[in-house]
Amino acid sequence: MKVVLSYLKPYKWFALIALGLMLLELVAELAQPIIIAKIIDEGIVLKDFHVIFLWGCMLIGIASLAFLCGIVNTYFAAHAAQSFALDLRNALFRKIQSFSMTTFLKYPTSSLITRLTNDVQQVQSILFMSLRIMIRAPLAVVLSLVMVFFVNAKMAMILMIGTPILTIFLYIIVKNGSLLFGQVQRRMDRVNRALQESLQAIYLVKAYMRNAYETEKFNRIAEDLKLDTMKALRMMELMMPIMSFVLNVSLLLAIWYGAREVSMNEAQVGELVAVVNYALRITGYFGMFAFILNGFTRAKASSERMAEILVMEEGLEEEKSGTETPKEEFGTVRFKGVSFKYPNTKKLVLQDISFEVKQGEKLAIMGTTGSGKTTLLSLIPRFYEPSKGEIVVNGRNISDWSLKDLRNMIGYVPQKALLFTGSIENNVKWGKRMAEHREVVAATTKAQIHDTILNFPEQYKTRVGQKGVNLSGGQKQRLSIARAIIRKPQILILDDSTSALDVKTEAALWDALKDTEATMLVVTQKIHTAKGADRIVLLDEGKIVAIGTHDELMKSSKLYQQIASTQEEQVGDE
């Protein structure tokens, strides 16, 4: 709660003013009965028309003042609550952006989404409510109690007999309630996850006609959410009946006691009536009181979930200030005895990998499915840290580079062409924000997609759906390549990114890339792509089994021969 509330600090003055205005409004309201009494006593009873008019106007004046306070309070409270929410969301998002990939594996997207929207909304709305009505109820309760003490201290003591029990009871409810609401929010994560999964898999769901299956799965998850929500809310609903029951019974005791006092002439009947009146007023505020506690409990649960992210210090990407590129090893990538396993797993995915690529060279990486090719590439932009060994880029260990500088040298084309909602132009510019249209065209031309784009009705302004749904596989891959080469990277990483391209297009692409100075690391399945490389690294089960040129490997490596034979066979067929 503390962590999250600290984001209110910049707006504390707005919040305080809102609270002040609320008090003012309350005072104005309380003044009313006094004025009405005055009108009756001095105006109506004495038949003084002037007094009626004067105090009548006063009444209107005070009502207007209260109204003004209320309206201004609304603006201040809304400003404080919304600004607080904005800052909170931003802080969360910034923190999430600094997560390392390892941390991302721990927090599913869906859970982060819930925290950024639903949880923030929960806290924000209770804050707004608090700034407008919160103190009203507790204040009224406390004031009424104080008045009871003034009227008759002994009866007041009896009235408060249940307070310790109630306090403990409320404490337990809030504590358990916030645990339960925490569970509700986690269920919400699950709902989000299930939704996201079904949406991502929509083609598959439809292809296998799994509507019923998916619906049933979703129903179960929604049912869990329902049950837990019910549990939490019902728990909170205990508050109001028990509070009023305890108070009512205490009141009876007080009356019993008071009646005895009255009978012994130690108290006045009027005192008794006053006590009863105040006690009834207190119960009247219990509804609001319970409502506030309910909101507070919920906000507490959400706050804890957000604080978990906000205070996180481990699992973030470290920020190092950039340093000059040593010129002598410009564009060199060197692996020295690198081993790697994914966090929380035992199996080494890469073992003792060593190789070197120099500027302008093209290294092909081949190997069987699951042999660690993609993992190897993902170590270069430091998505993950090697468990052993070191990776040197431009003559400097990559852990000494600032992430930004390191990644700005790299053009990365992932295996799965991931595009974002927006125009084609913007998707390419994602690689270089400030690029001019000319540069975009140059990149797309090299990536062999320019002509295709021109055939689209809106050309470069054509909107790409989420994940590029409305483009063909090959189009996505080529856009993804264009996005990488527009950066004019020193190191170009292509993770099997030409698999959906036909031979002709692919050949043209490699041709166009020939004159770049970039060092290229290319994962491929195709021998003819590998042939064009300066060297080939052959992986098997995370180890390098062979390294050399096509011709060398054709002679030395059994596995390579085998791969080649599966692709050359057709020659024999004819």
């Binding site: 309201e29 009756i40 105006g43 038949k47 009626i52 009548g56 009444l59 009502a63 109204f67 409270a77 809304a78 400003h79 919304q82 904005l86 931003n90 600094s98 991302f104 909304q121 989000n192 079904s198 083609y203 598959l204 296998y208 006609m209 979703f218 929604a222 959410l225 329902k226 929500t229 609903e237 009946p241 028990i242 019993w256 009646a259 409502f291 797993t345 699951g370 932009p381 790299i410 991931l418 974002f420 909602t421 690689g431 689209f456 009705p457 989420q466 409305n470 189009q475 891959q477 698999s499 391209l501 036909d502 031979v503 050949a507 399945q525 021998i527 003819h528 599966t566 057709q570 020659v571």
Partner: protein, 611 residues
């Protein structure tokens, strides 16, 4: 300092006068009926639990009575026992009173207990109903929308309904009860003063209209902004590796900030305008006090009413306006719920995929596929057709290779065969019958589709394979995995077939995903097999191993295979070379080689290799 405090008043207005005027013009009537319709739909869902609902209403009535009875009995005790000092007779009364308190506490709890049940069940039905409907929507619906935006409708928007149902229902009902009671008592005391008190009602009505006209729009805008933000978050975080690879953190932060700020701005105005309601009502109440005191004073002056009546009246006026206040506050939450519900219902109002096939469900497909003058274009790319006048006929059991440059329409052709989309013109015939005559269920049950982009669920490997046929036994699953050459790597996973795959699928490679996806198809036992780049990420050695199994699988089934590696399709009976949405060449491999056209050229290139 002063500058700072001007901030709350410096928000850029969201609603312009023009907006409001337009809204008035366009919606004169229908807007109100839109609300009514939405409310009615929510009510219908709530009403499905009528039994409980009635129980809640009864509880509300009892608790209201008990709530009134408590103070009344208390007064009775004071008047009749305390003042006359008759303690002994007090005891039974206290017993009664405790009974009343117990009844009050219990009915209060029960009404809320049941209401929570009703509310959450309603919410559950809304959520699952919307989800069920969502899955029936045509693919084009999903093409147009961000996932996060749709997700927001089923989470954030439904939450507004949930929050409202939990509290507002009981509130509204008990407010109405109190209101009715108070009015009766007031009328009994003084009809003329009652009328005067009621003067504020038209004013309240006008104020309410003024405010709700704004809030209803703002709430909707707020939910939209939230959905937009949700969409952006989902997409960005799902694509985090790209954000990182391109060091675009600052940019997405900026992007997020803009969307978040838009939400703040809309949210601010929604809070402000909805915050007006209690304030305005308070003001009107206070004014009515002044009126009662003033006019009552004049009445008393002339001796038309007694002073006592005025005193009681001011008290009742307060009683009268409190439930009105409560109602006004509830209108706010109800409006926000309507805004949320509308967005949920809009999913349910989307037209589902037309599925009016009249062929029997158990119709067995042999596998003849024919395209007659089929043309097709995607909604989003509205200039040129993706497929032009496609004509072909494939006999049952034949294997067809679709080759050609990317964007030629190969995947689209497959999507049309599985009826993900309907052709714009021409007909697609399966076994000589129009594809529209089949129910989708009938059609797809007899097809297996291995998609370009394999997807795995966050579930065990076993369940993921079983997705191909839900009633498959464990042995069949293992068998399918063996055929797809996935068994070996599965056994190396920490828990074998029971390994639960992560959402991001980080433990297994893209190629392995494809293997699992193929295993699914092996389980399905289809008449028509559609393989779209099913082995593109698999190394050729492994591919060769599955190739034989695949060929076995294709035997006796009509198969369409897309592959860029021509080796993959060398066993095809027919090859269609597609280009720009047309079939440029077709025939057996041998025919095409002899023809020495595009295909022959492609073959040469792939063999010539080199870069």
């Amino acid at each position: 300092m002063m500058e700072m405090f001007k901030k709350p008043f410096g928000y850029e207005p969201i609603l312009t006068k023009e907006d409001l005027r337009n809204a008035e013009k366009k919606h004169k009537g229908p807007r109100a009926s839109d609300w009514k319709r939405t409310l009615l739909r929510i009510w219908k869902l709530v009403d499905e639990q009528r039994g409980l609902l009635i129980a809640v209403f009864i509880m509300v009535i009892i608790s209201s009575i008990a709530g009134l009875l408590g103070p009344f009995l208390m007064g009775y005790i004071i008047d009749h026992f305390v003042i006359p000092k008759e303690f002994q007779r007090m005891v039974p009364m206290i017993g009664v009173l405790i009974g009343v308190y117990i009844v009050y506490a219990v009915t209060l709890f029960m009404q809320n207990y049941w209401m929570v049940g009703i509310a959450q069940t309603t919410v559950y039905r809304m959520r699952t109903g919307a989800f069920k409907h969502l899955l029936k929507l045509p693919i084009s619906y999903f093409d147009k929308r961000q996932h996060g935006e749709i997700m927001s409708r089923l989470t954030n928007d439904i939450e507004t309904v949930s929050a409202t149902l939990n509290t507002s229902f009981i509130q509204v009902f008990s407010s109405l009860l109190t209101l009715a009671g108070t009015i009766i008592v007031m009328l009994y005391l003084s009809p003329s003063l009652t009328l005067i008190t009621m003067i504020v009602i038209p004013l309240m009505f006008i104020a309410m209209r003024w405010i709700t006209k704004r809030t209803s729009k703002l709430f909707k805008a707020q939910q939209e902004a939230l959905g937009d933000l949700n969409g952006m978050i989902e997409e960005t975080i799902s694509g985090q590796s790209i954000v990182k690879a391109f060091s675009q953190e600052d940019h997405v932060k900026q992007d997020f900030y803009m969307k978040s700020k838009r939400l703040k701005n809309v949210g601010f105005w929604a809070l402000v305008y909805s915050g007006y309601i209690p304030k305005v009502f308070n003001f009107l109440n206070n004014m009515s006090f002044a009126i009662i005191a003033g006019i009552g004073g004049i009445f008393a002056y002339y001796g038309w009413v007694t002073i006592g009546t005025i005193v009681i009246f001011t008290e009742y006026a307060r009683q009268f306006t409190r439930p009105l206040n409560d109602l006004a506050n509830q209108i706010n939450t109800v409006l926000s719920a309507i805004a949320g519900a509308e967005r949920v219902f809009s999913i349910m109002d989307e037209e589902i995929e037309e599925d009016r096939g009249n062929l029997p469900d158990d119709y067995l497909i042999r596998g003849e596929v024919e395209f007659r003058n089929v043309s097709f274009k995607y909604e989003s790319k509205n200039k040129s057709d993706t497929l032009h006048n496609l004509n072909f006929r494939v006999q049952p059991g034949q294997t067809v290779a679709l080759v050609g440059p990317t964007g030629a329409g190969k995947t689209t052709t497959m999507l049309l065969i599985a009826r993900f989309y309907d052709a714009n013109s021409g007909e697609i015939l399966i076994d000589g019958k129009n594809i529209r005559d089949y129910k989708r269920q009938t059609l797809r049950r007899q097809m297996a589709f291995v998609l370009q982009d394999p997807f795995l669920f966050e579930a065990s490997v076993r369940e993921n394979i079983r997705y191909g046929r839900l009633d498959a036994t464990d042995e069949e699953v293992v068998d399918a995995a063996k055929k797809a050459n996935a068994h070996d790597f599965i056994m190396k996973l920490p828990k074998g077939y029971d390994t639960v795959l992560k959402a991001d699928g980080s433990e297994i490679s893209q190629g392995q995903k494809q293997l699992l996806s193929i295993a699914r198809a092996f389980l399905a036992n289809p008449a028509i097999l559609l393989l779209d780049e099913a082995t593109s990420s698999i190394d050729t050695v492994t591919e060769k191993k599955i190739q034989e199994a695949l060929e076995e699988l294709m035997k006796g089934r009509t198969s369409f295979v897309i592959a860029h590696r021509l080796n993959t399709v060398r066993h095809a009976d027919i090859v269609f070379v597609m280009k720009d949405g047309r079939i440029a060449e077709s025939g057996s491999q041998q025919e095409l080689i002899e023809k020495d056209g595009i295909y022959a050229n492609m073959l040469k290139q792939s063999k010539g290799g080199g870069v």
